[in-house]
């Protein structure tokens, strides 16, 4: 218990510092980054969407589709292990912007084109992923 509570802030610290400093590849210092995929090939930037990057081999891959205001796929409360690399693929039939609260990562959605939201689940808690314009909650991420 106590070891975990110590480890969490320590792990998160370099990430937060990197996040403050700018958006340039904090992955280099990321201890838990997946090693199976080539480290040189465009590691997804954790603060923006990368519509064409293939999903990481390790980590959690989630998919949601939005059509006519209805959300299908991995909706509802989705548990994610702390520290995991999470990839959410969002396909919407309308232009919008997806926003993950707390982590403050955004993805621009174009009609019909799948967009990816990639981030490391380093902050424990429960977070909503919502569409900014429509106000629809796509899923609720439970990081623990």
């Amino acid at each position: 218990m106590s070891r975990r509570s110590l480890a969490v802030p320590l792990l998160a610290l370099p990430l937060l510092l990197a996040g403050c400093a700018g958006t340039e590849a904090p992955e280099a210092a990321e201890p838990s980054a997946a090693t199976s995929s080539a480290p040189e090939s465009s590691a997804p930037d954790s603060t923006s969407a990368a519509p064409t990057t293939p999903a990481e081999a390790a980590g959690t891959a989630l998919e949601v589709q939005v059509a006519g205001g209805q959300v299908t796929g991995d909706t509802g409360r989705v548990p994610v292990p702390l520290g995991d690399r999470v990839t959410v693929t969002i396909t919407s039939d309308a232009a919008d912007e997806a926003h993950l609260h707390g982590y403050d990562v955004l993805a621009d959605l174009a009609p019909g084109a799948p967009a990816e939201l990639v981030f490391d689940a380093t902050i424990p808690g429960v977070f909503e992923l919502e569409l900014h314009d429509a106000g629809t909650v796509l899923l609720t991420l439970q990081v623990s």
Partner: protein, 434 residues
């Protein structure tokens, strides 16, 4: 824009571990029944005249009109600033100061402030200054005679209105909503104070009554002769006068916090509250308050009947004993919000109007550190708060029973204690997320 259940916020707490929930519930039940058997047999917390007087200098400073008017003027200036920031600041909730000040720093922060310092909002309330300025214009307060009969019922209504805006109204986090609420609250309560006299604030201003209620568990009190004293917080709570409507205020606070917890559960979000609209929220809030009210009325009345006392006076008699339970719920639900999302207020205060280049405190570029408090700490504080509130509640109810009848049988208190156990186990269940 859809936002998390409580007015604003970027995250909610993880469900507490099952083991911790069960330990907490077990402890609450054990302590309650041990208390009935082992507690003192005569009243011992002391009445409204107990306590150690504070130094005269402290009392003169706290009671001086200059201190109060100065603090009220500062609060009024901040109120104007927040409304201006809501209207003229960034349109986006997460960059606008106003929602974070109202829902997090003020509303949640009022609890620790009142717990540590006493009824602070009574001293600082900016509406009291507005009323003092406008009073000479009106001269008489036509409704002053009718005010005492209303008790604290106006405050219960005032709190329900605020809580509906905070927890239910879909546009609750919009800066425009916050501006409209603050202006509306100011106009309505200042006008009512002009009609009913200055006494209105202590009975009808929900924020002031809330602060005074929490302060009942602070170590500071005022004796009947006006002297400020320091005393055991439990003695302080025990000396709470039996005002009509006090039970309603406590029930509203408890029920609304329960609804806030309920609306965070996966069950609510995918079931009855899936629509996330005014209707489901209003029904949920009203239902939660009604359920708490029903349980409380049944528990107190049944206890009164067993003791052979008049049944009608019981709910008012025991209202003060539910204050710590409501406080425990509040700590459990909003502790992490204040410490984590509360950081946003200090970041945005550095540039209230979102003017490019302005950074008054050098904090505008900061990012909220959502890992500042670990999930383990949050879970322990949540369960600890709920269980401590429960123990204090049972203790106060026991003292009240002895005060009403010197040789009260412990078994007469059973129905009320069972209801308190239900509140606590229900509260832990909400934290666990069922």
């Amino acid at each position: 824009m859809t936002l998390l259940a409580h007015g604003v916020g970027s995250r909610t707490d993880l469900p507490i571990p099952l083991g911790l929930a069960l330990y907490g519930a077990g402890a609450a039940i054990l302590i309650s029944f041990a208390a009935l058997l082992l507690f003192w047999r005569t009243p011992r917390l002391g009445g409204p005249d107990g306590g150690r007087p504070l130094p005269g200098g402290v009392q003169r400073f706290v009671d001086s009109a200059a201190t109060r008017r100065l603090l009220q003027a500062v609060a009024l200036a901040l109120l104007v600033l927040v409304v201006a920031a809501a209207v003229a600041g960034p349109a986006e909730t997460r960059r606008n100061l106003a929602p974070w000040v109202l829902y997090v720093t003020f509303w949640v922060g009022l609890v620790p402030a009142s717990l540590l310092l006493g009824p602070v909002w009574r001293v600082v309330n900016p509406l009291r200054l507005l009323h003092a300025v406008l009073r000479p214009v009106v001269r008489t307060a036509p409704g002053a005679d009718r005010l005492p009969a209303l008790g604290l019922w106006p405050a219960a209504v005032s709190l329900v209105v605020f809580l509906w805006f905070e927890l239910v109204f879909p546009g609750r986090a919009e800066p425009g909503t916050v501006a409209a609420f603050l202006v509306g609250y100011t106009v309505v309560h200042t006008a009512l104070a002009l009609w009913f006299g200055e006494g209105w604030f202590a009975r009808g201003d929900g924020f002031e009554v809330y602060s005074a209620l929490v302060a009942r568990l602070s170590p500071w009190a005022r004796r009947a002769d006006g002297r400020l004293v320091a005393r055991n917080p439990l003695a302080n709570a025990s000396a709470t006068p039996e005002t009509p409507g006090l039970a309603a205020v406590v029930v509203v606070l408890l029920g609304s916090t329960a609804f806030d917890g309920l609306s965070r559960t996966a069950w609510w979000q995918s079931g009855p509250g899936a629509a996330n609209d005014s209707l489901s929220g209003t029904v949920g809030l009203a239902g939660s308050i009604a359920l708490v009210a029903a349980l409380y009325l049944v528990g107190t009345r049944l206890s009164g009947r067993l003791a052979g006392q008049p049944v009608a006076v019981q709910p008012a008699r025991y209202a003060a004993s539910v204050i710590p339970i409501a406080l425990g719920y509040t700590v459990a639900h909003y502790f992490s919000l204040l410490l984590l999302d509360g950081q946003t207020t200090w970041i945005l205060a550095s540039n209230p109007f979102g003017t490019p280049g302005v950074d008054l405190f050098g904090t505008y570029g900061n990012v909220v550190d959502l890992t500042a408090v670990s999930p383990d700490t949050i879970a322990y504080v949540q369960v600890g708060g709920v269980v401590a509130g429960h123990v204090a509640g049972v203790t106060l109810a026991h003292e009240r029973a002895l005060l009403s009848e010197r040789h009260a049988r412990a078994s007469d208190q059973l129905p009320l204690v069972v209801v308190m156990v239900l509140f606590t186990v229900g509260g832990l269940g909400l934290l666990f997320g069922f």
